[in-house]
Structure formats: C-alpha cells, structure tokens
Subunit: 213 residues, 2 copies
C-alpha cells in the first residue's frame, strides 16, 4: 500500500518510518520540502519527501500528522482533488496553547476537530485514531505493557475503519475499540486534558490506558 | 468519623452503605426525607436520614453525590454555615442530557463543575474524586481486576486531599493520582465523554482505566 503522511514532526516521522520499516511505500508531506532537510535527518531513507499535495496524491491512505491548529490548512494545501475518496487517519488533537499550560481544547464537547475535518472534506473518509498516545507507542504499542492496552477509533465509513484497523494491527495494536461515527471524536479528543496532566505528572509520555473489567 | 452524604441515588446509597459497613456514622441527606422511604429501601439500617442541611451539619466530611445539574442548588440547601471549613468529596459530573444521547457536558475545557462548586462555597475544601467510575466500583474497587486500576483526585487543600485519600484507601483504592489544584477537575470531568460511550458499547458500567507504563 502507498501512504501519504502529512506533517514532519515527531508523529509524522514515527508513522513514516514505521510504515517504511513494514515494507510500505511512503511519501512524507511538508509545507516546503526544500527547507525540511535538517528536520528530517531521522527519516528512513526509503521515505520520499514531497509537498502536502504531492504526498496526498502519492498515498492511497493519508495520515494527518499535522498540529491540530493547522490541520485544516494543511489539508487544503494537500488539495481536495488529491484527497477525495481516500482514507484519512486523523491523529490530530485540537490543543490550544494560547490560554497557558496545560493546553485546553479549541473545539470540543458538542463538536470536534475530527468532525471539522470531515465537514471541510466531505469526500474524505476520516477515521480518528492514535491521538490518545505518544508517537513511539502509536507505531509500536508493545513498547509499554507488552501492547496490552487500548486504542479508540471512530469514523463514518465502515470500510475505511476496516482499512485503518488493518494498519493498526500491523503496528501491533490488539485492543482496538470502534466507538462509532465521527461524532465520537468528541470523546477521544477529550482524553487529552487528562493525558497532558499525567504526562506532566509522570515526566514521560510513555504510558497509555488499559480498560479493565 | 461522621459523614454527611448528599443525594439518595445509586451513588449516595453506595457511599452511605459502604461508610456504615466500615463502622462510620453516616447521615444521608435528601430534599424531602419524608418522601424518600421507597427510594431508600436498600439503605443500611445504621445510616441515618435527614435533610441536606441536617446531613451537612452532621458530617465532618461531606460527599456530594447529587446530580451535577442540581449540585450547587443542593449545596445551597445544605447551607453555607453547615459546610464552611469542611471537606467536600465532589463526585458529581456536569452531564447535560438536553442535547440528546450520549450526554455532553454543561461546563468544561476552561472551567469545571468542581471549580464552580469551589467558587460558590469558598470556605469548603472541595476534593474532586470518584467521578470516573460507577458506584459499585467507587466503594469497592476490588470488584474489577483485583482493584489494580486508577483513580484521580484534585483540590486546593493538601490536608483535605490527605483526608480523602485515607477514605479512598479504606474503600480499597491503591492507585490514587493527585493531579493538583481544583482546576484539574476539568480533566477528570472530561473523562466522562469516553466513559459514557464505553458504557454504551460494553453494556456495563463495571469497568475502569488502568494506566500502564
């Protein structure tokens, strides 16, 4: 499968490198590829570099690994035509750092960033996933507790969720909960307020939640 | 220790019965004690019944087990004079059922119900706790996974948090995380959106989150 990964931060690099390691073709997308050299030093050699639009055109499945505040702009730069009909794994979180630390959310409760993205790109098959864990755990859940902890996905398209579940299983995820349609992004994005506080308290992001019954 | 428990729902009854079982003196408080007979059939015989005000006056430590939407009104009926200087364990959640199911929150993100209660009663030592689990787990965490799962508390008064931690340990809690001051109620109340969806998905409320590292 060919993947486009939008965003060259910690999340975009982790996703891109892991997909390449698993033998997939990957193009990481950035605003200005010519200026991204130093930033991409830790990139797997097999990962191609392009603009947001080139990366989106390349991928059959796209990952949104951009910051929540710029996600819709980045997707606009990727271009409707390059996105239409494709699956988007939306990892972004609506973190608002403008009101001090820890961050609050710039959308929530009766709406979500996942829904905003879906509304802005109605022909994109948005699946919210991976936003509740740090990048190294996203791509290798076995890094903590042998991988026995939980992940949530949601989205409107059943086939898209099946595709994403397949990728997540390749990453090593076993406990994947499909919460339903994209409105459930309200709930998975609302995990962030406690996540950021625990991150601050533990001094590490290498943790996740396991549901016990 | 003498406890006042405000609210005669599933939460108020569970807390009252457990405190009585542990040998404490308890008065459960309700709007109209004379009308609460049937509702309180499952009450431990040792648990006294009174008005909100009588219960608050009786208790050295008070539990707010009323619904989030009526908590501030119930506390007003309990009376400032009966509350001042005491510890309040605030279990309430700001659930808003007016916009359909699953419920949204009527306050959140940059404020919380815990903070609203603290602002309305500045001399009360509010400790948010137990709001992220169902009543039977609140009072007996060993009901799931041998009790090895996590609880969050927050509040402005260190001594009050110590008192509440002691009660929680009597209930059987071992993994208790103090997140800091009462503003952190924003985070623990924000657990509800995912909690209510998992409750719907699992068809049972007998679950909790365990942090794995």
């Amino acid at each position: 499968m060919k993947y486009g990964v939008l965003g060259t931060g910690m999340v975009g690099l982790a996703i891109s490198n892991r997909l390449a390691e698993l033998g997939h073709e990957v193009m990481i997308g950035t605003r200005e590829p010519s200026k991204s050299g130093d930033k991409l030093k830790s990139k797997n050699d097999a990962v191609k570099i392009g603009t947001f639009a080139e990366s989106a055109a390349f991928g059959e499945v796209i990952f949104n690994a951009t910051g929540g505040a710029v996600s819709i702009d980045a997707l606009k730069m990727a271009g409707q035509a390059n996105l239409n009909g494709k699956v988007l794994v939306d990892i972004s979180n609506p973190l608002d750092y403008s009101k001090g630390m820890p961050p609050s959310l710039f959308v929530g409760n009766t709406d979500s960033l996942g829904e905003q993205v879906q509304r802005a790109f109605p022909k994109l098959k948005v699946v919210k996933a991976l936003n509740t864990v740090t990048a190294p755990i996203m791509v290798n859940p076995k890094r903590v507790a042998g991988g026995d902890h939980d992940l949530f996905i949601c989205g409107n398209d059943a086939g898209a969720k099946e595709t994403v579940t397949g990728i997540l299983r390749e990453f090593g995820w076993t406990n994947i909960h499909d919460l339903g349609d994209i409105t459930n992004a309200r709930a998975v994005e609302a995990v962030l307020p406690i996540w950021v506080r625990l991150y601050g308290k533990f001094g590490t992001a290498m943790f996740n939640f396991k549901i016990v019954q």
